[in-house]
Amino acid sequence: MNGRADAVPGEQGDGQPYRFVSPELAGQSLRDVGYLATERISSVVFLGDRLRKPVLVEGPAGTGKTELAKSVALMSGMRLIRLQCYEGLDEAKALYEWNYKKQLLRIQAERTGSQAEAVEWTELEADIFSEEFLLARPLLSAIRAPDPVVLLIDEVDRLDVETEALLLEVLSDYQVSIPELGTVTSVQTPLVFLTSNNSRELSEALKRRCLYLYIDYPSVEREQEIVLRRVPGISATLTSQITGVVRSLRQLELKKKPSVSETIDWAQTLHLFGAQQVSTELVVDTLHVLLKHQSDIEKATAELTAAR
């Protein structure tokens, strides 16, 4: 049973090398570039490469979804191409656009040149709709890139449902159809990561094409490790108290729960203050680093001081 996994180092049917040998090694390399991956994260990253499938990463804000894609790019030395989604994003911004200014120039150059040998219209048309006049946007450039790349499609949930369909061809077949040019197929299969804050339900069609990874708030132990790594020189006791407070806060019903990045900021603040111990006063004084809504701060303060 075990042998099967080891039997496939290197190549697959499409002749492209696999990038990771095993989930453990993928996790290890992520760790080397400073991303502490859980077992599940490293195994999904590994599978994304093996199955040549995009990975859809969901989870609350600030749990390191975007960071994951960046770290994967960093660890494997691949170029990162990023498409930030927003409401109103369209084909011209995501896929490709014809450089019509350049096309106009081309036509004009034709006219002002030698009138005698005026080029046939069809010839000209074929000419101005060639690769030279194509402006590649993130999706197309990821497909066309000759070198291995990581494509990060950030915050897909911000797209309108209709525009979501733009992504489908790229995600399932790694190709883009351009009516005037034909179909551009990928030279190499890019590693694709999509992130979503789950502000709306993504369509089934999109989900079906992806592997799914949910990154939740980290466990206390993992968060401790993250803080220790990100805030050099911080003491272990302070860290464990910090993560303890954060965990308690996450259990409250807040508008916006403290994210990992906010935990790190907070740890940094406390470290700069030279705190050795976390006391209630200190927490209340620095709570604004952790929580960004006034009502949340009030609630947390009430909760923390009520215990006395």
């Binding site: 049973m1 075990n2 099967r4 996994a5 496939v8 989930p23 077992e39 599940r40 195994s43 999904v44 590994f46 599978l47 093996r50 199955l51 499938k53 990975v55 859809l56 969901e58 989870g59 789950n198 502000s199 709306r200 339900e201 089934e204 989900k207 079906r208 992806c210 592997l211 799914y212 990874l213 949910y214 206390v220 108290q241 303890g244 407070v245 965990r247 308690s248 259990q251 019903e253 807040l254 508008k255 111990q277 976390v278 006391s279 209630t280 927490v283 009502s295 949340d296 009030e298 609630k299 923390l304 215990a307 006395r308």
Partner: protein
């Protein structure tokens, strides 16, 4: 492996997880890429390929444990005296060393396992406790909740919690430190509970086989949890899912506004345009539809019989509130009271319920719901404000305690309002039984839907237009 996978996917589909054929193919491909001997990896591979919604993880976890936990234990089937599952980690020959301990020694050992965070020891103790206290009868078709209850009462987790508190206090912590420690202890006690639960599940599977157990242990998806008999934890889980739904509801109505077909003729622009065609108005110009703000009036029963549902509808009202400006909420039992302001000011839903409990005039007499009276009061006090673009949504089971139904009120509301919807949290079969007077109200509403779970609510939102 393929047959196990097929069985597993069939089970997921039986729970209601939508697993497509292509996902099935992916799962098989994923299993080929990883070592099958590693349970954790098999699990994450299956989760990544088959489960595309975070809310479904809970149901998936249980199904996975049933299916793949059972496979490894297959050889242990029947040998109840011999099985604590796999925890050979600590070297406690299960059923040998541990079974010789007295009850007190066992709880002492449990305390040690918990306070030292020894996962292996904890598993062994949980196994022994199930052996000792649960009294599992082979072949009985049960879901195991009773076994869980029996084991947990004997293990007495409250005492365990107390002891953890005491031992922490001996360390002399600050106020904050103590509070943090308490949270930590609660998490650990919960872990014990989870361990015992998993152990019982393993036993049941060993006894009856995965397929048989799957049906009884199956955990419903969050969207299939019935509002009326949901546990607190389940309701808390629902809360997460309500927000996107409220947004969708808002989006539905907004969408409707943008795409209105009929609009008034813009005479000036039509004449201006007609000049191009020699004064013949070929193209008609219309005024841009002025988006009328949709209004929603939510009237919810908060009496005891539907209390769980009421909590949920309040959440829904609250979530809609944050998406929508013009939502007015009313609650009733036998009186009726507007709670829009309370919902607006409150920072979150817990404060809302708290304030509602402080007292409203929703309860006028005896605290038994009287739909007739409540509706009539609503009509008298707020009927004027129901306008042609108002949608009125009534949430309740129509159990009227044999009062007069006064269905004419609904007819009057419907005449004024754009739509009148009634969402009933009871199954259709239960309507009109006992004191339910749905039959009298139903003809007066535009739409009456059974709304027992999130799936049905979602379906309702989806068909809205």
């Amino acid at each position: 492996m393929e047959t196990i996978l097929a069985g597993f996917i069939a089970e997921l589909r039986a729970i209601g997880l939508p697993v497509s054929v292509s996902e099935n193919v992916d799962a098989a491909a994923a299993l080929r890429a990883i070592p099958l001997s590693d349970r954790a990896q098999v699990k994450s591979a299956l989760a990544a390929t088959l489960v595309k919604n975070h809310d479904h993880y809970g149901a998936f976890d249980v199904a996975f444990d049933i299916y793949f936990g059972g496979r490894q234990l297959g050889s242990l089937a029947g040998g109840t005296g011999n099985g604590t599952g796999e925890p050979k980690v600590t070297g406690f020959g299960s059923g040998t060393v541990l079974s010789r301990l007295t009850d007190d020694e066992l709880s002492e050992l449990l305390f040690r396992a918990v306070s030292q965070r020894d996962g292996g020891l904890l598993r062994a103790v949980a196994g022994e406790a199930v052996d000792r206290y649960a009294g599992i009868e082979p072949g009985r078709v049960v879901a195991g909740t009773f076994y869980l209850y029996k084991t947990l009462t004997r293990l007495d987790l409250e005492v365990l919690r107390q002891r953890l508190r005491e031992s922490a206090e001996a360390d002399g912590l600050s106020d904050l430190g103590r509070q943090l420690a308490e949270d930590d202890q609660d998490a650990r006690v919960d872990a014990v509970r989870g361990e015992v639960e998993a152990e019982i599940r393993r036993r049941l599977i060993a006894d009856r086989g995965a397929e048989a157990v799957a049906a009884t242990l199956r955990r419903p998806l969050p969207e299939d949890v019935e509002f009326l008999n949901a546990s607190r934890a389940q309701l808390a889980g629902l809360r997460q899912t309500v927000r996107p739904l409220a947004r969708k509801l808002a989006a539905r109505l907004a969408h409707k506004r943008r795409h209105r077909q009929r609009a008034a003729l813009d005479f000036r622009r039509t004449v201006r345009k007609s000049l191009a065609s020699g004064g013949v108005p070929v193209d008609l110009a219309y005024r841009k539809p002025r988006p009328a703000k949709p209004e929603i009036m939510l009237v919810a029963d908060i009496s005891g019989s539907v209390s769980a549902f009421a909590g949920f509808t309040l959440q829904l009202a609250y979530a809609i509130k944050s998406e929508f400006s013009r939502v007015r909420s009313f609650v009733f039992v036998d009186g009726v009271e507007e709670v829009t302001a309370i919902l607006q000011d409150a920072a979150d839903i817990t404060t809302v319920t708290h304030r509602l409990n402080l007292g409203t005039s929703a309860v006028r007499l005896d605290g038994h719901s009287d739909y007739g009276l409540a509706l009539e009061t609503f009509w008298e006090r707020w009927g004027e404000q129901v306008r042609s673009r108002t949608s009125v949504i009534i949430l309740g089971d129509a159990r009227n305690n044999y009062h007069a139904s006064r269905a004419w009120v609904l007819k009057a509301i419907r005449q004024r309002a754009r739509h009148l919807y009634w969402l009933n949290p009871e199954p259709v079969a239960a309507w009109d039984t006992g004191d339910s007077v749905m039959r009298e109200y139903a003809p007066e509403c535009d739409t009456v839907v059974e709304c027992r779970n999130l799936r049905q609510l979602r379906a309702f939102v989806e068909q809205l237009d």
